[in-house]
């Protein structure tokens, strides 16, 4: 028994005790092949997956070194069967290779003929493979590259993709590092991405994902297509790129509902790409409009299904996915990995907070007790309406007001999911509302006013879930949400995580109605953040309201 920090579980999860003196070394050793699943305060959970092990193989780690580090850091004897399984899994990688043959173009080459015969027979690959060139080689149509890789992965014989990437149309892009430099983790993320060719970088909100994208562009030095969630986010990208890189305004095009510019660097919204006209997607041609050298997917956890399909055809181009939370409520994380690429970089939120790159945040769950009348109304509500009734209880209003008053000098965002409630709040707090129907112009104006400090309180609907850069927001108050969505909670916390000029703490309040389904959903929503090490404090609304209880009319 070595007394190490790692405990290997039979279900292939690895438990890392964070307070152990060797924890850091262990983390470095297992990070290449194990995926970080949860990182609460004491014990982090990693998981060994075939995908993770194959990625490690692709990155040059062999089974021996994986087994060695497991044994070296394990506190208890590691079951023999698990070690055998790891070795066997890793051994499956690279028996097949996708290579560019000078004579035949893209081919699938089997270093192990039997495996090649096995996969060639598989029904799942029907139609993807072309003519058999010789015993070890089968031709592959370039457009099937992504789907073939995906199918081979499902068969358990991942192909090593040696066919490389097209460089795309060259375009000079440099980082303009005047007075700032790329943070160490951003550099690591870019390096990890570039070494792998394509993949996903997971960084907390506010940790500067845009800069990772910019740095990737500066490395690629090629025309770039950036896909973002909405127009406002697109304009933020544009602003950031102009400020941080050698790109000028003329080089960056916006491809949205309002404008259709295609330039060396083009920023397009998911919405415009997936808009349908007569059963077709007229704007998907954008992918082929130029010889893109790099495609960046912002907020990749929101990537819509049609873009997934199209991404399968883009396997020869470098792809970078950016997200804070690779938790898709539709469970399609696997598709993100296989089509855009594996996770290339991931860091626990708390680590980045400890380095001071995101603001430390205090998460507080405020529980309000419903009045008897409200409780009665809730009790007799139909099941599908229950959450709305509980989440929009009027009792929450004075609590929100008290919370806003508690931070008199700080910019406050109030975020909710139900428009009626937001309008009530807007009136009650005397604050403007940004909702889906607010025009882009009005949004920009309000956000600018907020950034400038002219506006202290802003009420946001679901549009506030992502990609709004309001660096000065220090307090977020969540009054209702989309049921139990975990990524929404994380994104909302992300709104206040941008580091503050004076390094002060951010506050994230979520107001829930006690003893209702609201509490249950809140618990579910908090799970992702709790797993990232954010411990929620629960306080009673009465403590917030203080002695003088404001009356509701």
């Amino acid at each position: 028994m070595s007394g190490g920090p790692l405990i290997v579980q039979s279900d292939k999860t690895l438990l890392l005790e964070v307070d152990h003196p060797d924890a850091k070394a262990c983390r470095m050793a297992i990070a290449p092949f194990a995926e970080l699943e949860r990182s609460p305060e004491h014990v982090h959970t990693y998981r060994l997956t075939p995908l993770g092990l194959w990625n490690a193989r692709a990155a040059g780690h062999d089974a021996e070194s994986v087994v060695d580090s497991l044994i070296k850091f394990s506190r208890y004897p590691v079951p023999h069967a698990l070690l055998v399984d790891v070795a066997e899994t890793m051994d499956r990688y690279g028996r097949l290779q996708l290579v560019n043959d000078p004579g035949h173009g893209l081919v699938l080459r089997g270093l192990d003929k039997i495996v090649l015969v096995e996969v060639a027979k598989s029904k799942k690959l029907a139609g993807m493979l072309g003519a058999k060139i010789d015993d070890e080689t089968i031709a592959v149509h370039p457009s099937e590259r992504g789907r073939l890789k995906q199918a081979l992965l499902k068969l358990g014989w991942p192909a090593e993709d040696l066919a490389g990437y097209v460089d795309g149309e060259a375009h000079p892009i440099d980082l303009a590092e005047d007075g700032w430099t790329l943070r160490s983790y951003q550099q690591e993320a870019v390096d990890g991405f570039w070494a792998g060719g394509s993949g996903v970088v997971v960084l907390p909100c506010g940790a500067g994902k845009t800069l990772v994208g910019a740095a990737a562009m500066a490395t690629a030095k090629a025309t770039t297509l950036i896909l973002v969630t909405n127009t406002v986010a697109g304009r933020q990208w544009k602003r950031e790129l102009i400020a941080r890189t050698s790109l000028t305004e003329d080089e960056i095009g916006e491809y949205s509902g309002e404008r259709k510019e295609i330039r060396a660097v083009t920023i397009a919204t998911y919405q415009v790409l997936t808009s349908r006209r007569g059963g077709t997607y007229p704007h998907l041609d954008l992918f082929g409009a130029r010889d893109w050298g790099l495609v960046i997917y912002d907020e990749v956890h929101l990537l819509p299904a049609p873009i997934f399909r199209f991404t399968a055809d883009l396997q020869a181009r470098r792809r970078l996915g950016l997200t804070a939370t690779l938790v898709r409520e539709d469970g399609r994380e696997g598709d993100v990995f296989s089509l855009i690429g594996p996770k290339r970089y991931d860091a626990p939120w708390k680590d980045i907070e400890a380095q001071g790159w995101i603001a430390p945040a205090e998460c507080v769950e405020v529980r309000v007790t419903l009045t008897d009348a409200e409780r009665m109304a809730y009790a007799v509500t139909e099941a599908e309406e229950r959450y709305r009734v509980a989440a929009t209880a009027r009792t929450k209003l004075p609590v929100v007001k008290a919370l806003v008053d508690k931070h008199p000098d700080e910019p406050v965002l109030v975020i909710g999911g139900f428009l009626d409630q937001l309008h009530q709040l807007g009136e009650y707090l005397d604050a403007p509302i940004v909702e889906g129907s607010t025009t882009n112009k009005e949004r920009e104006r309000l956000f600018d006013a907020f950034r400038a400090g002219e506006l202290r309180t802003l009420v946001l609907s679901k549009v506030g879930n992502f990609s709004i850069d309001l660096p000065e927001a220090a307090v977020a108050i969540q009054v209702s949400g989309t049921f139990g969505s975990r990524q929404e909670e994380a994104q909302r916390l992300g709104r206040v995580l941008r580091p503050k000029a004076d390094g002060r703490q951010a506050h994230f309040y979520t107001v829930v109605s006690r003893d209702t389904i609201d509490t249950e959903y809140a618990a579910h929503r908090q799970r992702f953040l709790a797993e990232q090490g954010y411990a929620y404090t629960i306080v009673d609304a009465d403590d917030i309201l203080g002695p003088a209880l404001p009356q509701i009319d």
């Binding site: 028994m1 405990i7 290997v8 579980q9 039979s10 279900d11 999860t13 438990l15 005790e17 949860r38 609460p40 305060e41 004491h42 014990v43 959970t45 044994i71 394990s74 506190r75 208890y76 004897p77 590691v78 079951p79 023999h80 069967a81 698990l82 070690l83 003893d515 509490t519 249950e520 618990a523 908090q526 799970r527 709790a530 797993e531 090490g533 954010y534 411990a535 929620y536 404090t537 629960i538």
Partner: protein
């Protein structure tokens, strides 16, 4: 011969005799009366075969040489003759082998006049060393060929390649082959060989022709010629093929093994837990169904072969048993109730005791059961002779030789240097050398033994572990007990447990509680802690450590079994090495607050009143003690008695209760007085005697009216129109029946509208034709409803039965 043999035995020293008995212990069971009896037994087939079974490949080869070199006349051989045959190896090694045969008395006599025990020929192959019989014994032409050495060599050299291949195969032994049918590709070369007398067809008299053609034999002389390179006996291996194996660090072997030990113990436990949660039926043919095996394997996170192995082992260890399904019918849901399930598999009582042991002790009891069990788990999932799948725990997987196979396999590993990890095939090769006669056909059993050893952690990384070695030696000691008593059998051998304990992680008594409500036990939990966590949290992952998650449901479960919120708080405070997160405390409090908010119970009747004082009075009334009243709310009392008795009791005590029904409405009951059945008074007879009653008043008028109406109707009936009467009888000239029917419908529809009376002719259910004067009311759905004024009844006529309808002209 027997006398010679007995004489030889008799001439032995006591030491030599005891050496013989030691080598062939079956000779003295039971103890023979005298040396002659011993001699007879030593020459018996059974004893000789058993003795040969224990001999290694080389010794058997030397024995073959001895058999080959016997002179035809005297049936004697000599060491020199044997040495001549075994020319490739050191004579010393051959002498040692001969000595081995002599001390076992398979061979006896002087060096130049060695006897072989006759039974040897009966229990061994008729072709010693894989060589055929001499040519002159088989066929004169072949003998002639063999006599001419040069010609024989030429013939063999002239053989076409196909024929040469056949020759080589037969020369390697056994020297018998089938001629094959002419269509087979191998037929022509063999035919060539037969034609040239290199092969001799051997036909067994009185046997039906074999489907694969005649048998052919390679004469001994030809065989010897072909074995020029390898020597007359074929390749000889005087020394065992010791597996080289990979050298591994014994420490890492032990460590990997210990990991597997924990895994095996844990998996066995989760298998049995899954079985306890949902017992599986015993199949009619015995054993566990495929689907149940799949289910259990999935529940325990194992693959099916390993699940089958562990089920077999736990069954052998007495942790798993069959129980009568009837006794558990209500409390336990048996999966898949196909027909009547008589027996189910359930963990036994011993399982609960086993669970209380330390990991090492638990493993030792499993491992010892595995060593001793006469089962071959690798057969599970394969198909038997009748192509039916073999089920786990089924009688088909029984193999008596399995324990022996395990001992042999593990002994090979145990004889190697610690940490040596040979390939499985190397081990099998050595086993085949050590006891070729026994190893034949047992390869599967040996593979099963090695696979089982790896799965249980007796071996790891291909080498035997230090504790595995001990486990094995302990068993050896027990076997060596002359009285056959196993003193250590009831308690696990201490050495293994101690060695293993040092390798296994020490149990921990604390947990780490985190804000995401996960509870991590950083090591194997103490039994007490495990029991506590089982109740208050849901298991998430297991292995070296266990991860649990506290959920609202698990907290409620804990409250249900009697924990209070304070107990739970103190449990987590006591057990957690880390501060208990606030979310957990809140969750416990929330759950505790809601827990028991609703109360349910059963009562025979209730008593309610808006007047609390009245209920208080009832409660205080001592006379009502027998009613068992209990106050469950200020305005409600309940009683286990039925309503009637409750009411009676209350009334007796002077209260004025009223019963109410399910809707809360008062049920008023009058006291019922008992009466005999009603009888008529004899006074009624007075009127009978007085003659017919005198009618008067309205009643009289009614009678008269009835008579009149009847009369009118009767007259009317007599006057039923011709058309109706005609339709009923002979038909109306000029109209088809269809037209008549259509006309009738029109008449009826008209009559319904006008509420007029109509003559209807119809066929009744007996086929009789009738006509009736009626007033139609409605005509729909294939029926006519009409009232008959005479009888004041409403009639329904099926439309298809109506033959005619004529309006009544009288009104």
């Amino acid at each position: 011969m027997a006398t010679t043999f007995a004489d030889h035995l008799r001439s032995l020293t006591d030491e030599a005799l005891s050496a013989l008995v030691q080598l062939r212990p079956d000779l003295v069971v039971p103890v023979p009366a005298d040396v002659s009896a011993l001699a007879v037994r030593a020459q018996s087939r059974g004893s000789v075969a058993r003795c040969l079974d224990g001999l290694d490949e080389f010794t058997l080869a030397v024995l073959d040489a001895a058999r080959l070199s016997r002179s035809a006349e005297t049936a004697l051989t000599s060491i020199d003759a044997i040495l001549e045959l075994a020319c490739d190896v050191e004579p010393a090694d051959v002498r040692v082998a001969v000595e081995r045969l002599r001390v076992r008395f398979l061979m006896f006599g002087a060096d130049d006049a060695l006897h072989l025990v006759a039974a040897i020929d009966e229990v061994t192959s008729p072709y010693p060393a894989g060589l055929g019989r001499p040519a002159d014994f088989l066929d004169p032409q072949a003998a002639a060929l063999c006599a001419d050495k040069a010609k024989l060599r030429r013939t063999v050299l002239a053989a076409p390649p196909g024929a040469r291949a056949v020759l080589d195969r037969l020369a390697a032994g056994p020297p018998i082959g089938a001629l094959g049918r002419d269509s087979q590709p191998s037929a022509p070369p063999v035919r060539w060989l037969v034609d040239n007398h290199v092969l001799v067809p051997i036909s067994e008299a009185g046997r039906a022709p074999r489907p694969d053609g005649e048998l052919v034999e390679l004469p001994r002389e030809v065989g010897l010629l072909l074995r020029r390179d390898t020597g007359p006996l074929g390749p000889l291996r005087p020394f065992p093929p010791i597996p080289e194996g990979t050298a591994r660090d014994p420490k890492s072997v032990d460590s990997a093994g210990a990991g597997q030990v924990m895994e095996a113990v844990r998996s066995a436990e989760s298998l049995l837990e899954a079985l306890a949660a949902e017992p599986a039926p015993v199949l009619r043919a015995g054993g566990l169904g495929v689907r149940d095996l799949k289910r259990l394997a999935k529940a325990a996170g194992l693959d099916e072969p390993n699940a089958a192995l562990l089920l077999e082992v736990t069954h052998a260890a007495g942790l798993l048993g069959e129980a009568d399904a009837a006794g558990t019918s209500r409390s336990v849901t048996v999966s898949r109730a196909s027909g009547a399930v008589d027996e189910i598999f359930l963990p036994t009582g011993a399982y609960d005791l086993w669970r209380a042991l330390s990991s090492a002790q638990r493993w030792v009891s499993l491992a010892r059961a595995w060593l001793a069990m006469t089962r071959q788990p690798s057969l599970v999932g394969q198909r038997d002779d009748r192509d039916r799948p073999i089920n786990a725990l089924a009688p088909d997987a029984e193999r008596a030789g399995a324990p022996q196979a395990r001992r042999e396999g593990l002994l090979v590993l145990a004889d190697l240097k610690p940490g040596t990890a040979p390939q499985v095939d190397e081990v099998l090769g050595l086993l085949a050398w050590q006891t070729p006669r026994r190893a034949r056909g047992r390869e599967a059993a040996h593979r099963d033994a090695l696979a089982g050893a790896a799965a249980l952690g007796v071996t790891a990384l291909g080498a035997i572990t230090s504790y595995g070695r001990l486990l094995f030696e302990d068993v050896d000691d027990a076997d060596g007990d002359p009285l056959g008593v196993h003193p250590g059998a009831t308690e696990p051998p201490g050495d293994v447990v101690r060695t293993l304990d040092a390798l296994l992680p020490a149990p921990v008594d604390h947990v780490l509680v985190q804000a995401d409500l996960s509870v991590v036990v950083p090591g194997p939990p103490e039994p007490e802690l495990a029991a506590e966590l089982d109740v208050v949290a849901e298991p998430e992952s297991a292995g070296g450590a266990s991860v649990f998650r506290v959920t609202a449901a698990s907290v409620r479960r804990a409250l249900d079994v009697g924990y209070t919120a304070a107990d739970l708080h103190s449990l987590f405070r006591r057990r957690s090495r880390t501060p208990v997160p606030q979310t957990l405390s809140y969750m416990i409090d929330d759950a505790a607050r809601k827990h028991g908010g609703l109360r349910a119970g059963s009562a025979g009747s209730y008593l309610r009143s808006d007047d609390e004082a009245l209920l208080a009075e009832v409660m205080a009334d001592k006379r009502l003690g027998s009613l068992g009243l209990r106050q469950i709310a200020p305005t409600v009392l309940v009683s286990p008695l039925q309503v009637a008795r409750l009411l009676g009791g209350l009334r007796e005590a002077g209260f004025a209760p009223v019963a109410e029904d399910a809707g809360g409405v008062a049920v008023l009951t009058r006291p019922k007085v008992r009466r005999a059945p009603t009888r008529t008074s004899v006074a009624a007879r007075l009127t009978e005697q007085a003659g017919p009653p005198v009618l008067a008043g309205p009643r009289l008028a009614g009678v008269v009216e009835q008579i009149r109406r009847g009369d009118i109707a009767t007259r009317a009936a007599r006057r039923a129109p011709v058309s109706v009467r005609a339709a009923n009888g002979q038909g109306v000239p000029g109209l088809t029946s269809v037209q008549q029917h259509g006309q009738a419908m029109a008449v009826l529809q008209q009559a319904v509208r006008e509420k007029a009376r109509v003559w209807v002719g119809y066929v009744d259910s007996h086929g009789a034709t009738l006509s009736r004067l009626v007033r139609p009311v409605s005509l729909s759905a294939g029926y006519l409803r009409a009232e008959d004024e005479r009888t004041e009844t409403l009639h329904t006529f099926a439309l298809h039965r109506i033959t005619a309808a004529v309006p009544d002209e009288e009104n």
